[in-house]
Structures are given as C-alpha cells and as structure tokens.
C-alpha cells in the first residue's frame, strides 16, 4: 500500500514530495490538510528550496522518541551557520514546527551570546542606527550590566 504523499513548493518553485503522515508534524500543513485535503501543491512562498530541503530532511527523520531531542539538537548543530539557522527558524515558524524552531533559535542564541555588539550586528547584518549619545544613555541606565 502506498502512503499518501503531499507536494510542497518552495519560493523558487521547486517541488518536494513528502509523506503526509510526516508532513503533518507541521501544524500549518496539518491545518491545510484538514481543511481541503490538500490534494494540490502546497505553496510555501517564504521558504527557499535549500531550506525546504533541510526541513524535509528533518521531517523525514526516524528517531525513537527518547532520542529525538538529541537528534534535533545535532541536526541544528550541523548547520551551525547563522544565516542557515535563521532561514531554518523562519521556515519552522511559517510551518509551525515548534521543536525545530526552538532548536534553531536556541542555537542562534548560543552562538551570539558571547558576541560583542559589533559582532552581533555583523553576524545578523544589522545597521547600527544608534547615535553615540543614545548608546551612552543606555549604558548609563544599565551601568550594572556593563
């Protein structure tokens, strides 16, 4: 008996097949399946193919429940680059896959927690829109933390 499969479409219009019982780990997909049976292709306009491939790899994992936590941790550890992790976290957020999102966010937090301000900005590509005066005001307000 063949299991029912779903087709997911990434932002760049690539198609990915996945067995339905695995795909419904995503609450978003589960709700779609419930609503209309999701016979057609499910478009994921914010997830690129590279990230979707990772998500599918994650959904296809076959771990015993007691090893699952370690697996998820290892899974994100192996993709330790911040941009990849952010993409993964965003995809997990859109698809509502809590475990994956938690693990990816935790990993990003772990990576940036010992960074200097400049390093944080660089790693996450953020423009510094603060004036030195504003910065000083915050440093003064929270003296104990600096």
């Amino acid at each position: 008996m063949s299991k029912k499969t779903l087709t997911l479409m990434s932002k760049d219009k690539q198609l990915f097949n996945i067995e339905e019982h695995l795909a419904v780990q995503s609450v978003t997909i589960r709700n779609m399946v419930k609503e209309d049976g999701a016979s057609s292709v499910i478009p994921l306009p914010r997830v690129d193919s590279e990230t979707l491939a990772l998500v599918i790899e994650y959904l296809n994992r076959q771990q015993a429940p007691e090893e699952d936590e370690d697996y998820v941790k290892k899974f994100v550890d192996e993709r330790g680059e911040i941009p990849t992790l952010l993409e993964l976290a965003q995809a997990a957020l859109d698809l509502d896959i809590k475990k994956l999102m938690d693990a990816a966010c935790m990993k990003v937090a772990d990576l940036i927690k010992d960074f200097t301000l400049e390093e944080v900005r660089e790693a996450l590509r953020i423009e510094n829109d603060r004036t030195p005066e504003e910065e000083k005001a915050i440093r003064d307000e929270f003296q104990w933390a600096f």
């Binding site: 760049d12 941009p83 952010l86 966010c105 915050i138």
Partner: protein, 461 residues
C-alpha cells in the same frame, strides 16, 4: 561587498543527505528572486539588479537582506524568540544593537516569553549587622544584595554573582526581603529614627522601584508584621498582604501572647491598603526568625509557619490571595520526636510545598506531595553529621531552602555557605561564598515594567 555568498543558485542538483522524498524542478522555476541571485555573479548583474530593485525600494539594507536574509528580514516573533533565550546581561547589551531591538525588549510579548524561559537564580541579601531585641531582629544597614545566576546544574566554581546596587532611597534604611515573584522583589524598609515603615517593590533588572504608602496600622511598641507578596493566577493582580500582631494592654495588663492580629492588603496599581479587619485565628507568628515573616507563595496562597497560642507546636497558616481569607493548613508530623527545632522555613521544591527544619544533629525536609493533603507529607531528606561532617554541628541557625534543580539536587543557603545536596549520592557540597548573616531567596529575573501598575509612583535607580 560580498554578494550572493552562502547562497548557491536556486536550481541545484545538490540533494542533502537523508532527503528521501523526490524532488522535481518545476518548469516555471525562473522567478525574479532566482534571477537576481544568478545574475549577480555576472558582470552585468549588479546593474540589472540595481534597476530591478530600484523599482521596488532603493534601500541598501533591503537590498542586502535580499541577498542574505538577516534579522532585519526576520519576523519580530523570531527575533523576540532568540533574544528571550539570551542571558539577562546580554539582552541588555542587545538593546544597543539597534532601535528595533531596543523596542522589542520593551514589548510585552518579549517580557512574557523571557519570563517563561528565565532560569531560576538567587538573590543573596547580606545583613551586615543584626541587633536583637527581645522581640525583634533588625538589620542595622540596608546591606548588599547580590544576584547569583544558576545554570541548570550548580557548578559551585562557576557561579556568577553580581552586585545589584540598592536604590538610593533605600540606602539609610533597614531592608529585609519579603519575597519575589516574576522578577519583582518585595522589600520591607524601616527607618526607625524617622518612624518610616514601608514596603518597596523593585525590579533590579529594569531598575524600577516603587514605595507603597504606609499602612493604616503602624508598628507601635511590641508588634510584629508578617508579609506575603504574590501574583493571583485568577485576576493577574500582584498583591502584598501584611498582618500585624500586637499585644494590646488591657486593664493595665499586657498579655503574654499577641492579642490582636490585623490584616491589610495592597493590590499593586491601586495606591492604597485595604483593611481586612481582625484575623479570626488564635495563632501568632514566631518572633525570633526573620524569614518566618515572609510568606511562601504557592497555589495562590501564602504560607507561614505560626505557633498555636500555647507555643506547644508549630502550625502552618495560609492566606488565600483571591478570597482574601486566612486558614490553618495541614502541617507535617513532628520531625524529630521530642527534640527542639532550632529553625524552620517553608519553601517550594519541584512545585510542592516543603518544610525544612534544623535540629541539633539533624536537618530534615518534608515535602507535601499533593497540595493540601495532610497524608501526603513525606520526609524526603534527612541530613545528619554522618552525611555531612563539615556542616557546623550542632545546628542552631535556620537554613534557607532555595530551589530544586533539574538534576534533582537541592540548593540551600546556610549562614555563609551555599549547600547543594544530591539525594542520589546522599552527599552535600558546600561553597563558602557569602559573608555571615546572609539570606537567600529564589529569584527569577525578568524585564517586567511597572507601567502596568497604573498610577503608582515609580523611581528609577
């Protein structure tokens, strides 16, 4: 500028390991996004992309994030999630990263998420000098307050402590901490010389502090106050309750035991104490140990160790935060038959109420497995000189039971020591890290702002 790095062309034959499902390339794969990432690698690419982008939004940051998504690109929800997992100090540093982050840290979504993840720590309050009268023990100066961060497991060598300077308005007062909820600390401030007696609520992380108005019943002569600070899970209100027991002279005769107990309640945000009238019970608060005046908060109730009117045995009294009523509560059987208990305290261990008692040569922890069920009191821990030779036997001082850690060990503060008891190996590890006369209190740091408390006067420190 590095363009297109870490981003292979969208159409790729690369199949990640473990990918089992079939992949197909759809015929209409050439999309604008794909177009940009491919053409950028050619010499004409940047020009084309420039015009392409200009049509939409000629913004440098936007342009960059198209190539490599960053936090700018991420939904606030995700940024909040990541920030909420960082240590408190790092979060404060992150306020400097950009304006958006600063605002996110103030967002109530962030505050609540952070609170739910904030690891438990300790507030250590050091009383530099205590003077003892027949009826009361006073710290003579405000003392210092330190915050000790604890990871999931206590590694005594890697404890991080930092000084939390007390607000200037508390500098010349005697300060006793009376409880902590959601990162807010309830402090009892007294300045006997100025006849000042107030409760202060402060959040050492956001540096906000408010001083509650004086109660209607003031301490006068021989009277003792007991406090509780908690959060109602029903109404979401923060409340402070104070009971004041006094010996009222009748017929020129002062009774041996307190003859009247009055109770007052303060709901944060209302700016006034409400009088609950006389408490219809016949117990009283023991008057020789500071921490017994600080109610342990669990299950919407405060719990205090009290004495019956003949001083024959200890009982537990509770105050229901929502109904605002007092009641007696089942207490554990006598710990050590026929032996005098030197100090006792209540605490919460793995969500259960527990009672800790120190005797001459024994320290016991009783745990109430099912809340409110007398038979569920269970003697969980017994520490004797055989288990821990180094503890200063015989024990006379009470011990503060702080918190049960994830690995099952129990954290306590005893005099100037930090003790971690491991129930599996039945061993106790001690670290001398405080000055004598220190007291500990479980504390979970938060970014909770006082703006929710309406018209209360808030001081920054």
């Amino acid at each position: 500028m590095k363009l297109n790095h870490r981003r292979p062309p969208a159409i790729s034959d690369h199949t990640p390991i473990g990918l089992k499902s079939a992949r197909q390339t759809s015929p209409e794969a050439k999309t604008p996004a794909d177009f940009s990432s491919r053409t950028l690698t050619t010499t004409t690419g940047p020009v084309l992309v420039f015009f392409y982008l200009k049509k939409i939004k000629p913004n440098f940051v936007w342009f960059r994030t198209l190539i490599d998504p960053s936090m700018e690109d991420l939904p606030a929800e995700l940024t909040i999630d990541i920030l909420s997992r960082l240590p408190v100090k790092t979060i404060i540093h992150c306020k400097l990263v950009c304006k958006k982050w600063r605002n996110l840290v103030l967002d109530s979504l962030f505050v609540n998420l952070h609170l739910s993840r904030s690891p438990i720590g300790l507030i250590i309050k050091h009383y530099p000098f205590m003077y003892r009268t027949n009826y009361w023990i006073f710290p003579s100066y405000p003392g210092t307050m330190k915050w000790v961060q604890i990871e999931d497991k206590v590694d005594c060598d890697r404890l991080l402590s930092l000084n939390l300077n007390l607000p200037a308005i508390l500098q010349n007062a005697s300060i006793i901490h009376m409880g902590s909820v959601n990162g807010l600390i309830c402090l009892w401030r007294t300045i006997p010389a100025l006849n000042l007696d107030n409760i202060c609520i402060c959040n050492p992380v956001t540096r906000e502090c408010m001083i509650l108005p004086g109660q209607r019943f003031q301490r006068d002569g021989f009277a003792e106050a007991a406090y509780g600070f908690g959060l109602s899970s029903v109404t979401g209100e923060y409340k402070v309750v104070r009971t004041l027991q006094a010996k009222v002279v009748q017929n020129g005769h002062k009774p041996a035991w307190p003859s009247v107990i009055e109770a007052e309640v303060y709901t944060l945000g209302t700016c006034e104490w409400r009088n609950l009238g006389p408490v219809p019970v016949t117990y009283y608060w023991l008057n020789n140990a500071l921490h017994q005046f600080c109610g342990t908060f669990l299950n919407n109730h405060f719990h205090w160790i009290v004495c019956d009117s003949k001083d024959t045995r200890d009982e537990i009294a509770t105050f229901d935060l929502d109904k605002e009523t007092f009641q007696m509560f089942p207490s554990p059987p006598e710990s050590v038959q026929g032996k005098r208990c030197h100090g006792q305290s209540l605490a919460i261990l793995k969500g259960c109420l527990c009672k800790l008692g120190t005797y001459h040569f024994e320290l016991t922890i009783w745990v109430m497995k099912e809340y409110g069920i007398k038979n569920s009191w269970h003697k969980e821990v017994v520490i004797t000189p055989e288990i821990c030779v180094d503890l200063k036997w015989p024990l006379f001082e009470p011990m503060d039971l702080i918190v049960g850690l994830k690995d099952g060990s129990i954290l306590m503060v005893f005099e100037n020591k930090f003790c971690v008891f491991d129930p599996r190996s039945q061993t106790i590890e001690e670290t001398k890290m405080f000055k004598p006369q220190s007291r500990g209190l479980a504390y979970r740091p938060s970014f909770l702002k006082f703006q929710n408390f309406g018209s209360e006067m808030v001081y920054m420190f």
